[in-house]
Each structure stands twice: as C-alpha cells, then as structure tokens.
C-alpha cells in the first residue's frame, strides 16, 4: 500500500496542502485500497502488477482532483439554482397576486382581471415545461418526441393566454384566429427544433408541414379579409410547388455533396 500512497502524494507534490486535497487523498487511498483488495481476491498475487494496474486506472490523479472539484462546484451551482428557482417562484406568485389584487381593487373589474392571474399561472406552467424541454433535449434522442410535444403544448398555452386577453379584456371578435396562428407556430417551432436537435428525419417534417401551414395561412388571410375565401384556396394546392422546390433543393444539395465526395476520392486516388 505504501507504493500507492506515495503515488498519490507525488501527484500533489507541487500543491500546498489544503483541506480539499487532504480529503480527496484520504478518499482515494480508501478507494484504491479496496481496489487492491478486490484484485487480490480475484487471485492476483503480484504486488507490482496490482500497483501498475491501479495506476493505469488512475493515470492523472491531479486531473481527477480537478474533475471532482468541478463536479462539486457544478453540484453547488445546481443546488443554488434550485434554491433560487424556488425563491423566484414564490416571489413571482406573490408579485402576481399583489398586482392582480391591486389592479382588481383599483379598477373593480373583477370580471376581467381574473385573466391576469390565470395568465400568470399559465406562464409559470410554460416555464416549467421549458425546463423539461431543455432537460429532455440533452437526453437520448428517444426522449425528443416528448420534448416536441411539450413545445407544442407550450405554444398552445401561450395562444390561450393571448386568446383570453383579446376576448375578455379587449373583446376582439376574431380572437379565435390566435389558435390558427398557434398551429402555424407549432409547426414552425417543431421544424426548427427538429433541425436544431439534428433529428434524422427533419426534412420529412419540413415537407409534411408545408401544406397544412399553407392551409392555416389561407384561413388567417381570408378571415382577416386580406384575400377572398374563393379563389384564395388555391394557395393550398399551390403550396405543393414549395414542397417540390424544397425536395429539389434537397436533392441538389445531396448531389453536390456526392460530387464533392467523388472529387475527394479522385484526388486521394491520384495522390496514391
């Protein structure tokens, strides 16, 4: 064991003894002693080999120490963030309640101010959902569909908030169009997500969304009397041109890649 202790000590020769280093060394000695016992139990009886094997498993002890310190810091930061989030959430709800009650008492429009507190709660829900989306995106791609569903739900919640504000506070008649916008936004956001998360079939989503997006545009523009319902519907089948264009662009990019690849291969061949 003396060898192992020497090895650990040697790694920190140039460092001033600190409590964190002392603790790290203490834990490491215990860990490596266990490891040595485990190897002896396996039947390894050559002490030099045990030492070399353990050293090969810990080639850079100083880096391990730094890594542990980084992990500790990250852990601390994580717990700080969690505390800040809890405090922030409490403050947010207190502020929302104070503002809601203040506005309601001042205006006495209780039949409309409820939209504010409902909106505040929904915004908080979307915040939680965004956190989940971030966490899921970092995980394996099998979790990506779930984060895409959450993203769509988020947009739907925002649409609901806007719808409530427009209907209850401003009494806008065509507020239902917000939901049509929302569907459009869902498809756009999903397309961007697929691209950013490097989803393998992103191109198929882009293509599949073009015609429904055109339909949504058609409804919005017609409902706002920007274009007539008839023959405005033509923009739906016309969107197939965009589909074709996207496919053509994709194919040409693919062909260019292939040409480049062939040129690369040729040059390699000539060099050889």
């Amino acid at each position: 064991m003396k060898n192992i202790i020497d090895y650990i000590d040697a790694a920190f020769d140039s460092e001033q003894e600190r409590e964190s280093i002392y603790k790290f060394k203490q834990n490491l000695v215990a860990e490596l002693t266990d490891r040595a016992n485990e190897l002896t139990h396996s039947g390894l009886d050559d002490e030099n080999v045990i030492y070399d094997l353990i050293v090969s498993e810990h080639p850079d002890i100083k880096e391990e120490y730094k890594e542990e310190q980084r992990e500790l810091k990250a852990k601390k930061r994580k717990s700080h963030t969690a505390v800040l989030r809890v405090i922030g959430s409490v403050l947010y709800f207190i502020a929302a309640a104070v503002i809601y009650l203040g506005i309601s008492f001042l205006t006495d429009a209780w039949n409309r101010t409820w939209v504010f507190i409902t909106g505040a709660v929904l915004v908080y829900v979307t915040y939680l959902m965004f956190l989940s989306i971030g966490a899921l995106t970092k995980r394996r791609s099998v979790f990506h569909p779930l984060s895409r569903i959450l993203l769509a739900l988020n947009i739907f919640i925002y649409a609901t908030i806007i719808f409530l504000v427009l209907t209850v506070i401003f009494s806008v008649k065509g507020a239902w169009l917000v939901y049509i916008f929302a569907v459009l936004a869902m498809m756009t956001a999903d397309g961007i997500y697929a691209e950013k998360a490097a989803e393998r079939f992103a191109i198929f989503f882009h293509i599949a969304y073009i015609v429904p997006a055109a339909a949504m545009f058609y409804i919005i523009l017609s409902a706002l009397n920007i274009i007539p319902w008839h023959p405005g519907w033509i923009m739906i089948p016309a969107s197939l041109i965009i589909v074709l264009a996207v496919i053509m662009i994709r194919i040409s990019i693919h062909n260019k890649d292939k040409e480049l690849e062939e040129t690369e291969d040729d040059s390699e061949w000539k060099e050889n």
Binding site: H41, S42, G43, D46, V49, V142
Partner: protein, 429 residues
Amino acid sequence: MERKLNAELWDKMHYLFRDFNDRMVHVELEYDYDINIRALKTVLICFFEKCPVFHSSFTDNHVRPYWTVNRYNIDEVLTVKDIDEKDKREEVDAFLTQCLPTDGELQMKACVFRYNGKSTLCIIENHMCMDGGDFKYFLKALCKNYNDYIANGTSPLDLRQGSRSYKTIYKDLSANDKKAAESLYRNINKKDDHRFPLSESSKEDSSFIARKVIPAEKFVKIRTEGKKYGATINDMLMAAYFYSLYELAGFDRSESVSISCAVDLRRHVKDTENMGVTNHTAWMQCKIPELGRDIFETLQYSIRSANQFKQDKYLGLYGLPLLSLGYKIMPHAASEEIIKIGYSNPYIAMSNIGILEVDKLALEGHEPVGGFMSGAVKYKPYVLLSATSMRNELTLSMCVRGNDEDKKTVSKFFDLMEKNIDVLIGDGQ
C-alpha cells in the same frame, strides 16, 4: 456499488441469436511445453480488469438490457487439468462444447490441459463480448503480455480499451461517406431456404465440433492455383463449399444457392487503437446462379459474386442504422420481436477467420504446434463453416448440435470439400 455496462447493439444482436446458436467462440492452441500457469493467471486477471464485460452477467431487461460487472476468482476462469495424452481430444472437446450462460458470472473461460510436458490451451468466450477478429487480437495480446511479463516482469496491461459501440466503424470514414453509411437502412441480404442436409432436431442432440485439417502442401497450392484464376483463398473455399453442398444436399444444378460469408467491418477502420474489444462482423451473401458445369465455372460464379460485394465501399454496413433505430425507438422486448421478423439468419454460412500467426502466438519462444478457432455451435438447420490456418495448415471446422447421423453428414461434407479442393488445385481427377 454495483457497476453496470451498457449493452451495445451487437451484444443485443448476438443475444437475439440465442435461438440459432450457443453464442460461444472457441479456440484451441497446442504447445510443446508446459505453460506457466501463474503467469497466465496474472495476464488473464489483468485482461479481465481491462475488459470488465468478460466478468459480467447480461440482464435481459425488457426496456434496456445491460451488463452487471461481477467479482470473480481466477480459479473460476482458468482450470488446469493434468490428463493422459490419449484422452486429449475427448477432454478438449468436452471443454470447448460447453456453453456459458449469459446471466452467469463469467463470459469467458479457459483451460490448460497438461500431458507429457506439453500443454493445450483452450478458451471459450461469449460471442456477445467479441467476435473472431477481436478474439484473435485478444490471443495475440495475451501471448505478448505473457512473454513480456515472464521475460521482464512487465505488467500485462497492454490490451486495447475503448468504445464497444458499433458506431466506431464509422469513425475513419469521410464526412460524406459517414453520412451515407448512417443512412443505409435497407437490408440487402435475402432469405434463402436452401439448407444443409442435417437431421431433424431432437432432445437427444448434443454439441460437437467436427474438424478437417487440409495439409500445408495443399493449402499453399490453394493460394497459388487461386491466383491463376484471380481467386482469393476465400473464393476457392467458397467454390468448394458450393460444389460440395450441391453434391451433399442433392440440390438441382439449375437452382441458385447462397452462402453467407462473414465480413470483418474493421476493414472500414484505419486505426483500431482506441476501440474496445467487441463485435464488428456482418454477412455478405455470396450467390451463384446455378451449379457450374464443373467446379471451375462454379469458382467463376463465386468470384463474380464476391467481387460485386467487394466493389461496394459500404460493404457490410447495410441495415446497421435500421437495427440501431429499432433498438433505440422501442423497448428491448418489443424491438427483439420486430427485428426477429425482419432479420433472416443465414442457414448456410462461412467464416474465414484467417491465419493464426504462430510467431505472435508463441509462449516463451514456443510456437503453437497446432490449433484452430471456430464460431458458435449452430442449432439445426443452421450451419457455419469456420476456416483458420496455422503453419499453412488449413483447419475447417463446423460446430453443430446434432446426433451421430449429423456427425456422419458433416464428415462426408468435409471429405467432399477435400475432394473438390483437390480438383481445384489440380490434385484430383
């Protein structure tokens, strides 16, 4: 704390093959000297520590399977038996034909049989851990580390470590090739219902390893005569395999038959240094349109078929992304069922494991005087012909779970192989 390892794609695939074979890879190396058991144990322990999958048990979790690393004692891994030389064949076969359960504590076992100052080293390992290619590397590393340890006291730690993922075969491809290879979803192997003429399976069947040694003078001729026809050793063996199969099974001459040949996917990798020991093997389905008028025409068909594959720069990479996707998007239990439907395991296959280099397998300067390596024991009606060469001697082997009738059939097949090889090299009629 329990240590777990990720079950890689090929681990899961070879686990799926449990319906077709016993998953064991076998090797036998004969030495004219007494192996230093203490040194061998030391090397084996170090290798087991470097590659913990060898002392892990596979958990068939319905959602995501994994390996659990176990504690072990080297005496459970390596057995030493003093035997009579006359019993050697029987003892070796009894050791080699055992099957290590996937949920057992160990995935590799070794045995040294000692007799009259000689030793035979036998090792079996679970194919889920590594294929023949890496097993050969493992053996060479074992011998090198053993020699260095005895000669200089160097700790035997020189074994490759790294990722066991199937994706490492893409690492040296150009960006465009990698992109293209990762999109090869289609499976190019077609189902062929032709079967090796073995008897029906029964409860009484037991595992056996049939071997046929083709002497050095013939093996050298296979190489030299093959060159005249533009054929590799693999092509020559394949032609003899096809011809013998038609004769043995009585297939109609006009029928098209295919034999799947194992392809080492490491051909796509320039530097294997940072790759862990694992499986990187796929099948190339060699097909002849009919039995040639003679074996030489059959050889031309074999060459043509093999060349078609060899010209493809993505040889062996087809279907991998689909398998990976299948395992990724579904829980393991469901993906296994789906893959079983889409995957057709070849009934007739060949694995040319290649040369067992005696200089690299020497222990303390004692080169092995004989030996072979073979694939798993196949369950009927599946068969795999393994071919290895040592000191220019070619060993053909077939591991089958069958009965005496099957033993006779395989023996007859080997006789036909030898006869047809003789014709190919100009020694026959």
